[in-house]
Amino acid sequence: MSAVDIDGLTKRYGDVTAVSELSLSVDRGEVFGFLGPNGAGKSTTINILLGFLDPTAGEVSVLGTDVTRDPQSVKARVGLLPEAFEPVPNLTGREHVAAAVETKGSDDDPDALLDRVGLAPEDASRPADDYSTGMFQRMALAVALVGEPDLLVLDEPSAGLDPNGVRLVREIVREEADRGAAVFFSSHVLDEVERVSDRVGILQDGELTAVNSVENLRDDLGMGSVVSATVDAVPDLDPIRAVDAVTDVSADGSTVRVACAAPGAKMAALRRLDDRATVADVTIEESSLEDLFEAYTTDRPEAGDGDAGDGATGPGAGAESATGDEPSAATAGGDRT
């Protein structure tokens, strides 16, 4: 049973379609990075997951329960860190967490949770209205962790955090995933998503344009990596261009840059270069999630058209290369019929 199972989700506001035919699933123990530009439909999707909004069409099942029919059962097992909410006025951070503990009927110690997220006791006893953004995010994360939820929904959890806080969020997310919780992780900090997510889904104009592991997305787009080699003299580059999966070769002074679409092309290109010149130094740059995000959200690539279908149903389902033709039919590669 998946932690999140979304099938054909559509949400319209009058003539505006916020989410269109979205299908994806997130497994238990998986960290799923949910990406998209502003207005792509991420928050709408999350609000539907929590029962704040009703879908126009489609089915949304969270932890095996239809969220439109029984949102209470769902919320009892979900930890939510919402985006851009303000605290209850005049309530301390500790009181926010204590109220969550009481509501969930858990036996968590609020102080232990606050300590886990790095909020000092003296800060925990101050009104949360006075918190900096980072302190508030830590408190909100502590609220989300109450009751050892089976699904954590984190909407921009790193917003306003310092580097130590960002690292702490990453560690907590991994710990929760290791415990068996699914983590639905929405963020604009792409580096953060790349570091922590098993798979990412990229939403654009309400449609899932890609969902897969970052590595698979990179391969599918032919944006694998760039090998930069410092040589004594730049040789004829055509033999290197002829290597399979080498997409571009250029020279700048004594540096030769070779763009490789597949992992195996790097060594082949490097050997061919080494045969023709003395290589003094080599660096390899993997294309970042930011590059992928830009590629998927500004100029939708042909190669990525099938990704939504292949990777939408869980970490294992997207291991094969993209083959689908219908990007919005994200169930095509998987375990639903």
């Binding site: 209470q72 909410f85 209850v88 009181e95 926010h96």
Partner: protein
């Protein structure tokens, strides 16, 4: 239990803002002033309850409105509602918790105001106040305050922004209190009914006027006072005697006015909740 948690959380929040203290203290002070200013004019405290009832009908809702209009709409505007409803609180439990705090503050404010009035009357008036009449006044005034707070919370739960909540609550106050039984000479229900009656072929009977007049919380409140607080009052006060010998219209019947007040107290929050239950949040 989650309603209790929501209510406790909410009460802590508004208590620490000192708004509650301000409202309770202001109404208590106004109630005391009403009696302090009249002890030499009216030797019987029951006469001054006439003025206090006007304070309850026209000033008390205005004091309670700032506490109530953001009860739900404020949370929606700030996004704080995702904190409450992201936890396993039902919308009903959340709404109940919010209503409970506001209703509790309204009840305490009203009861304390009447109690302070009683204390001042006891200390300064020539004739001792009748505890029974003050108890009845306190109970009726509290019922009225609960009805108005129910309307305000219902408005707050029905809209998504602070501005709409404020306009809605102020509008409800002017319609149900100031216009319906208000002191404004031209802009009130009586002149509106006169205008309707002046139309060719349209007549508005006294019983119809009495009935329409009783349909707001303030109308029902004022219709209940003569029977339950001012009946057989000592002294010869024209203000209190004007109600003696009123016609036997349905709109003046205590049971009917009690029903109207109860209807507002239960019905308004219910309508507010039903609108909130189906609202799209986020």
């Amino acid at each position: 239990m989650s309603s209790v948690t929501v209510a406790r959380t909410d009460f802590r929040s508004i208590r620490r803002s000192y708004a509650v203290v301000g409202v309770v203290a202001t109404f208590a002070a106004l109630s005391a002033l009403v009696f302090l200013g009249s002890d030499e004019v009216h030797p019987h405290p029951v006469r001054t309850t006439f003025g206090l009832s006007a304070l309850v009908a026209w000033a008390l809702p205005l004091l309670l409105a700032p506490l109530a209009y953001l009860a739900v709409a404020g949370d929606r505007a700030r996004g704080t509602i995702t904190y409450h409803l992201g936890l396993p609180n039902t919308r009903a439990a959340y709404f109940r918790g919010k209503y409970l705090t506001r209703a509790g503050v309204a009840a305490v404010t009203t009861a304390l105001g009447v109690a302070v009035a009683f204390g001042v009357a006891l200390a300064t008036y020539e004739h001792a106040p009748d505890p029974g009449r003050f108890l009845a006044l306190g109970a009726l005034s509290t019922a009225f305050a609960l009805a108005m707070v129910g309307v305000f919370v219902a408005v707050s739960a029905s809209v998504a922004s602070r501005s709409r909540a404020m306009v809605g609550v102020v509008g409800a106050y002017f319609l149900l209190s100031a216009f319906w039984v208000g002191p404004l000479p031209l802009l009130n229900l009586g002149t509106a009914l006169d205008a309707v009656a002046a139309l060719p072929g349209v007549g508005v009977s006294d019983s119809a006027r009495a009935l329409v007049g009783s349909l707001s919380p303030a109308g029902a409140y004022f219709n209940l006072l003569p029977e339950l607080v001012w009946a057989d009052a000592p002294g010869e006060y024209a203000a209190l005697q004007q109600f003696a010998g009123r016609s036997d219209h349905l709109g003046y019947e205590p049971w009917f006015n009690g029903l109207v007040l109860a209807g507002w107290t239960v019905g308004a929050p219910l309508v507010g909740y039903l609108r909130f239950r189906s609202a799209e949040l986020g």
